[in-house]
């Protein structure tokens, strides 16, 4: 399947599981949950029901599925419980797979930079406004 030795693949998988709380969902094309696994509790996801509509169970998936045969990547998706995840959604014959990878660290780092940049831009806008008056 892969051109990588098994120990490398295992290492990478463990890395994803331990450092980024890999979790998955399989959604049938009718929008109902078919399967799930991995560290879903790390995202506050529990009490899932097979065969039930996914949008009613995980509201952040409302409107996204089914896919049109193209994968979808959504970075830093934060739910009301405060969990931040990168969502990778891709189609297959069984249905659409949704992978969740913890993005809390990435969000924290980007937030610091973004905050500084936006504060600087706002200050620049204010100074320009005053100078133009």
């Amino acid at each position: 399947m892969l051109n990588f030795p098994e120990p490398v693949v295992n290492y990478l998988l463990n890395l994803m599981l331990e450092n980024r709380s890999l979790a998955y969902l399989l959604i049938a094309k009718d929008g109902c949950l078919a399967d799930w696994g991995g560290k879903l509790t790390a995202y506050g996801v529990m009490n899932l029901q097979k065969g039930q509509n996914i949008g009613q169970q995980l509201f952040f998936l409302e409107g996204l599925l089914p896919l049109d045969n193209f994968p979808l990547f959504l970075a830093c998706v934060k739910t009301e419980q405060g969990f931040c995840a990168d969502l990778h959604i891709f189609p297959s014959v069984q249905g659409d797979w949704v992978l969740l990878l913890d993005a809390s660290l990435d969000e924290t780092q980007r937030s610091l930079i973004q905050q500084q940049a936006n504060n600087s831009s706002l200050l620049h806008e204010k100074i320009t406004k005053v100078l133009n008056q």
């Binding site: 949008g55 509201f59 969000e107």
Partner: protein, 165 residues
């Protein structure tokens, strides 16, 4: 229950997050905190006797370094274009974003939100510009996330427009 996804779109620091916070939790903070990625909340509204769950996608604001990823808008039933009335450039950004959104998800209901109406003495957007947009058939609403003015009405109005579709 019927659920509809709506997105908050606009330049950075226009008050998208504050509008959602005011609507969902009735809280306002003076401290500006940037949004990274997207924050998703929900709230049930009652429209003409029917309950509708609004799934609110509060997208990060667009700036010189970071474009809004249109993939976030997938499956959106409507959107709010948020403008900071005190910053003229945020209206230009909203007009640009509206075109990109429409190219991505097609024509769905949207409202142009002129936020920060509590400091209307500092506004840079003229009535003439607003009238031109109204003449184009756009729906505009003035809000203040700080005082709560127009916030409830805004989400109710978009909900109704979505249900009319």
């Amino acid at each position: 229950m019927l659920q509809k996804k709506i997105c908050m779109v606009g330049a950075f620091a226009t008050g998208k997050t504050s509008l959602v916070a005011r609507f969902v939790t009735s809280i306002f903070s003076e401290v500006y905190q940037t949004t990274v990625g997207v924050k998703i909340d929900k709230k049930i509204v009652n429209l003409n006797g029917k309950d509708l769950t609004l799934i609110l996608w509060d997208l990060h604001g667009e700036d010189n370094f970071q474009k809004v990823r249109m993939s976030y808008l997938r499956g959106s039933s409507g959107y709010l274009l948020v403008v900071d009335g005190t910053r003229r450039n945020t209206l230009d950004k909203a007009l640009e974003l509206q075109q990109r959104v429409e190219e991505t998800i097609g024509k769905v209901p949207f409202i142009l939100v002129l936020n920060k109406s509590d400091i209307s003495n500092e506004w840079e957007i003229e009535n003439r510009e607003m009238d031109e947009l109204i003449e184009k058939g756009w729906h505009l609403i003035k809000t203040s996330a700080k005082t709560g003015l127009g916030v409830e009405e805004l989400f109710q109005m978009l909900g109704l427009k979505i249900l009319e579709e």
